[in-house]
Amino acid sequence: MRNVVAAILLAGGALALLPLVGLPLFYESFLYLVFHWIVLATSWNILSGYSGYFSFGHGAFFGAGMYTTAVLATRYDIPFLLTLPAAALVALLLGVALGAVVFRVKRVRGELFALATLAFTFVVGTIVLNTPIDGGPGIALSGVAVPALGRSAASSFYLLALALGVGTLIIAYAVYGSKLGTGLFAIHDDEDVAEVLGVPTFRYKMAAFAISCALAGVAGGLHALFVSYVTVSETFSITVPLSVVLMSVLGGTRHWAGPAVGAALITGLLYAFTAGDHALAGKVVFGVVLIVVILFMPDGVLGRFTARRQRHRRIPKITLAEESLSALPRMPRAATGEPLLVARGVRKAFRGVQALDGVDLEVRRGEILGLIGPNGSGKSTFINLVSGHYRSDAGTLLFESRDIARRDAHLIARAGIARTYQIPRPFAHMSVQDNIALPAMFGAAALDRSPALSEARRWLAFTGLSTQVDAFPEDLNLHQRKFLELARALASRPRLLLLDEVLSGLTPGEINDAVDLIRAIRDDGATIVFVEHVMRAVMALSDRLVVLDHGIVIAEGNVTTVMDHPDVVTAFLGRACA
């Protein structure tokens, strides 16, 4: 961490000396543009590259910064450098206002988010054009004094853009390695799962958007003086968003330095090929280079590098002797009997299908509760409600005496509830180890990154996946994915563990292993709700059974009495025909 920041600062310091060498002024302007685009592309990537919310609205925030500086410097005679924080603030507020609306609507993701932000750009542009902010003719900044940092105006611009570029790269790197960055990458792969594992998705998206917009705003403020004449049609166009997307994808959006590499490449290429006598031929060459690079390097220039870097982080191989249940971390043992989770009158309907029709049940501390019932009886819906994946229509869910029925999923995870998904939903672009470290960071345990990584290794050992630490989910078979799902739920150190058909699709031998694992988990203090169709395992593991049918509880009690209950027999086997 320190090394990279030091390297960025050092490189920045070295580049700051360039004007002293006596470069022709022209090159300083060119270098200004390089850093201008580095700032814009890198700031865009902090939200869009990391979290996968591709914004086409970067021009709006860039433009907000431009116009803030233009208006303040020309009409209120505020010194240029003091307008830059204001530019950042205006852009940030605009972004936060947009995010507060857009991020609340769950379906506005992917293309729809791209479109909403693009449309927002044109709306902002139209308002600026038609109000006294601009009014039509544009704003000229020719009378505004350029701060004398270098020997000429061009040097000053270059030095300012360089400083901003260095700052932006350090911020991008800090976010990349932080908890925020980890959360954003999880949102990129599967936002719903990230939320259920404890990532405060709304807050993280807002934070990333705010940082991204503020940086774009400063870049805009600086550029306003550089171009010295600001117009709506040049500012709020498709050029800025399109360019930053191109640069970031070219460099690689999954790496903090990717957009900077892409920005330098594209600005340099455009200059090299379009300056001089053969501008038109140069443009063609530019197009061809872009196409060829993307066809042969689909993950961007740094794409290969990110994949290799992740695989590089080899850890010493754990020997088989260590791969035993003894690896299980100790959890506080709790007295059994008192209720941990109490559901009262829980209802949930999906467009007229009443999935849960007033469920009352109790999960007692320290027990394994088997939740069974025919297909469509509401077992998975119940798990989805308790984990906060869906919100219930009515009823209360008291977990340790607090109602969690209306809470956000990430708060439920933090309160100590973890779940597995029936069909494993690993984060596809994260290594197995990172997949498991994430809930350790965001769940009830709330560890920092490096303890979370060692915690992950312990749970990998516990589930027998130690040899797969650096593998990616696509390399795993079904059995390993199921165990990855289990390890991910365990790593958050839940007090209540919801297992949704962890055994389906496994071979009899694998089921035996899993049954031993689940028993070991319970013996160490976790309470387990166990949804399963494999009756052998249900009978072997459950302390008590609850049977659901058509969204209501039809029987509850110890295993043998429940299985002999006439309603249960009817629900599973049908009515006797005589």
């Binding site: 591709f54 609306v101 857009v102 609507v105 769950k106 379906r107 506005v108 293309e111 729809l112 479109l115 909403a116 693009l118 449309a119 927002f120 044109f122 709306v123 542009g125 139209t126 308002i127 054009l129 038609n130 039509g136 166009s237 498709i238 050029t239 399109l242 997307v245 191109l246 994808v249 070219l250 038109l280 031929a281 443009k283 063609v284 530019f286 197009g287 061809v288 280079v289 872009l290 196409i291 993307i294 066809l295 042969f296 689909p298």
Partner: protein, 283 residues
Amino acid sequence: MPSVALLSQSVLSGVFLGALYGLLGLGLSLSWGLLRQINLAHFALAFLGAYLCYQLSAKGGMNPLATLAVIVPAFFVLGAAMQWVFARFRVSAFNSLLVTFGLTVIIESVIQGIWTADFRRLDSVYGDAKFKIGILYVPVPELITLGLSLALAFAIWAILRYTDMGRALRATAEDGPIAAAFGVNQKALGLLLAGTCAALAGVAGVCIALSYTLAPAQIYAWIGVVFATVMLGGLGRALGPIVAGIVIGVSESLTMAITSPAWAPLVSFSLLILVLLLRPGKI
């Protein structure tokens, strides 16, 4: 408040403008929804078509509509060739944006190299031809655009809905591997569809040449509003873009008539944002 005549005239011109948005959006929507490609080059192709139409009719003496006989097959081959490359390299949706941007830059340069950066205007037999119905003036070139848009949208809608090929296309869009397992030849369908989309760009180009002044930089002028049309109309749908295009076109020209032309984008894009936020599932 403007007069009834002015308002109804602007509704009509909004419908005509919207028809062109819809025609441009149609090809874009099909390749985005069914091939998962965001084809920026669609706009460049349309302008290439427009310039070809200009060349063939202004210099070659052909009837502008007759140039379709040359442009449509040529563009079909071009589109299919592009798709062959995309399929060969398995280009992802966002990378397709980059590749087609590169292509756009190349086409723009080629256009500029051949026809220069100056404005070009096609003086055709249709030119300023118009007739009057009641209080409304109906310009002929725009009417041709509207007719072509509606005819093509309905034809493609019918193909997608009622033919086996259309069903196979929709199935492939929903789940490619499964569709392939049931015997759908993805590769051939992809070539066919991409060819069709490029041909649609060619038709849109002829329509642009009939009504608008041409310049290479104009390629980028249409992107924002046509993207909005495509999203509003729904990806991979045939009738959606036309309807959405007309909604946007009419709202734009009404705003121009009631307030000032500069406010026009506000209405259409606010409308779009509202639809996105309130009914995201319907898009």
